[in-house]
Symmetry: C2
Subunit: 466 residues, 2 copies
């Protein structure tokens, strides 16, 4: 495995910056100090900032195919439109995984948690395809196959206590078998590919499915991932379904843990927040989709005050409509200043960087190996070009990166010590070919009419009091 | 004046897109239709989208020098820090005006309203310098010299009815003389340079200053610009100062009109909103600084429902911390989905484009000449490259542009028919030299200690109940 030395690079040091050399040996950070002897290749770090790689801790890669075109709708109706127009094939899955990886890398991410939508009947092929794409790019992949065992209509509160829905097309047992087979075939943490158990959320999953996921997680040492209380409708639904909050229910069934990441967490009360802290669960904050879908503002400052670990995700590109992690980090920081008039609670740019890096590593049970520039940790690193116009004039580099609107500032990226971006270009795949493929397989169009939205909209408006 | 024809370009047409040719003759749009005869130079519009230029309808260009480094503070304390570290010279004013123009152009803007901070004692020189910079770049400039006649401490509520503050360093009459001289020297609407009367806001201006501005506006046919109710503190202050809301006061003294643009407008009540509608005033929405400074969410959906014209601004780069107009438009659209659960009120991408273009033109009393692709209007145009990865796969181009996170998508820009961006590069100035100058005149640093913040913070916390 290659070794290299980054010379004269700016790094964050306590409340200041330091100019140092960084030695990488066999994929790990071997030393950080000024004037180190050169080991391996020399990388010029002058006028550059080195940070640990960020985690894009929640996304759905194949949503890239519908970004920009989804109607302005709340989640429940938006989902209906999404699925009406999502007849994916594995080639599309491949290309959108590549695209998601590229946009994540070029905005400072070295890891992606892909809550991967599975093509019905081609579930393992879908997982294999995404695995192949992420391996080709070289990004660290956490593939979380999106599973459920209730049909989409079950996700909207009925407004009544009786709940009956058409059966889901696949049995709970068959779904769990797919996940176990995926673990056997693709779960290779040492090679940068991880499979997670990832029930969609309480809105579409039975207790049996959650139980099966917990069992697999314990048996194979897998991280757990799920949506949680993204919308007010889900809050209502949990009360209908369980007679308690979704968090109380998830605690009771044992899903919450220090390797559980929960996407969104918008509609939690103070008791719920205490449960997340107690169980050491991680919140994945997806500020852009929460705004785009009108879901609300997740109480991130409260989470931080309660000691809950928080990190950031882009969410799927159909509700964002991008995969730019720096944008998610910026919005996920400044959005909360309007929720608490005491500015002493506001998130600083350095805190945001820690949330995006170490926060992600913690949530995936990898804080000992990833998430900070520390000797002994694996070299998932990003080098930013501080001479870019969007980072000038020179002030506070981390402030510019987090609060500004950087364009093309990622110079180099290494994952596990392997360089996969150099001079601002992804070196492992041909991005121009990717662009051409995405172009050829799509066409410009305007708003479409979703039949499912037309069917369920009146019910949704009634239940939600609109 | 040059003429040209853009061939085979995508434009928005009612609820769809059309591929057309666009003829520009002598700086104006002469024809829009398929298969037009070529006039002048041919521009290839294939795989490109043509939109009217947007307005960066509120900014403070020289704040670029402190972007990225300002503490996370609410406006009143943030301003104190800003002014403690703002010893500008005219060379800095020149460079930051260039930088503001470049970032605005490369994010779809063809006009900038610069609420320009004046160097004390060098007021006319400051205005001359900004004028020179904008003329060199070729962006349409609306220079709104920032004037006040009360000292900074007057901008924080006293918590009492008695209000005394140290006098401002320049008399009201002297300030108005500067503006009148600036109008004589620099106000050249036909050449793309406009001077506005632009009192800072009710928080720092006497009635005499407002009256003088109104008089100049009427005499010289100048647009009017001001901050309005950006923070809760200003809402309190207006009650202390006038015994009524700031909007009621501004209406009473005659400042509101169909050529008045008002930045922020966060803390207005329903009666205030009705006044804005009645006076045909324009709201300039600055979503990013409102979040960054914790000012709040401006009630933009209410404005739209009341028939108030709304457009977007980046605000100064120290509170944003960028000048990317597409980012402001995206956030200024999706942010409001959490303020109204009825998604039928949410802003669509096409509406956002109209707000950013025609909305800006209306506010500056130029709706007959600018703000849409209409035959007879001046050619302030932006051509977007739809083959950029951030705008792929091909779905709805305007949806991708507004809701996505476009990078380097501006291919060409024309202002009054003159091309000033080609192949994604500004052609009128040397941007690499600009970068080098910004780099050389700055240094990386971390948080600074503001003495003024230390002096006023305790009072601020008391008055604001923190």
């Amino acid at each position: 495995m290659v070794s290299f030395t980054i010379q004269n690079v700016l790094i964050a040091a306590s409340d200041d910056y330091a100019t140092v050399d960084v030695q990488i040996v066999d994929g790990a950070i071997a030393a950080i100090a000024p004037n180190l002897p050169v080991i391996g290749t020399v990388i010029d770090g002058k006028n550059k900032l080195l940070l640990p790689g960020f985690f894009n801790a929640h996304t759905h890669s194949s949503e890239m195919w519908q970004r920009g075109i989804m109607s302005v709708l709340p989640l429940e109706l938006w989902l209906a439109e999404l699925y009406d127009f999502a007849p994916l094939d594995t080639e599309q899955v491949y290309l959108s995984a590549l695209g998601t990886a590229v946009e994540t890398l070029l905005s400072g991410g070295t890891s992606v948690v892909d809550h991967l939508v599975l093509i019905p009947g081609l579930e393992l092929e879908t997982i294999a395809t995404a695995t192949r794409a992420y391996r080709e790019v070289g990004i660290r992949a956490f593939i979380a196959p999106l599973i459920q065992d209730e049909s989409l209509s079950a996700g909207i509160p009925s407004g009544e206590s009786a709940r009956t829905h058409e059966p889901y097309h696949r049995s709970t047992a068959a779904t769990l078998e797919i996940i176990e087979e995926a673990v056997r075939q693709f779960h290779r943490p040492d090679e940068g590919v991880n499979i997670l158990v990832a029930p969609t959320g309480i809105q579409l999953c039975s207790n049996a499915l959650f139980a099966g996921c917990i069992e697999l997680s314990d048996r194979y040492n897998l991280c757990r991932h799920s949506h949680l209380l993204e919308t007010r409708a889900q809050e209502k639904l949990a009360q209908e379904k369980y007679g308690c909050t979704a968090v109380e229910h998830l605690k009771r069934i044992g899903f919450l843990s220090d390797r559980t990441t929960l996407a969104h967490c918008v509609w939690l009360n103070d008791a719920d927040i205490a449960i997340l802290a107690e169980t050491q669960s991680t919140v994945v904050h997806n500020p852009l989709s929460n705004l785009r879908l009108g879901s609300g503002i997740a109480p991130i400052l409260k989470y931080r005050q309660a000691g809950v670990n928080v990190t950031f995700g882009c969410d799927g590109a159909s509700s964002n409509d991008s995969q730019d992690l720096l944008e998610a980090i910026k919005m996920g920081s400044i959005l909360h200043n309007i929720t608490d008039s005491d500015y002493q609670h506001w998130i600083t740019p350095r805190q945001a960087v820690e949330m995006a890096s170490l926060g992600g590593a913690k949530g995936l049970n990898l804080a000992d190996n990833l998430g900070s520039l520390s000797v002994g940790k694996q070299a998932d690193l990003v080098l930013y070009d501080l001479t870019n116009l969007s980072l000038l004039p020179r002030t506070d580099p981390i402030g510019l990166l987090v609060l500004g609107r950087p364009n093309n500032v990622v110079d180099s990226v290494w994952v596990n010590g392997k360089q996969i971006v150099a001079d601002g270009k992804v070196t492992t795949i041909n991005v121009d070919e990717l662009r051409q493929e995405l172009f050829n397989r799509s066409q410009w169009e305007t708003k479409r009419k979703s039949e499912t939205v037309a069917q369920i909209e009146a019910h949704y408006r009634t239940v939600m009091g609109l």
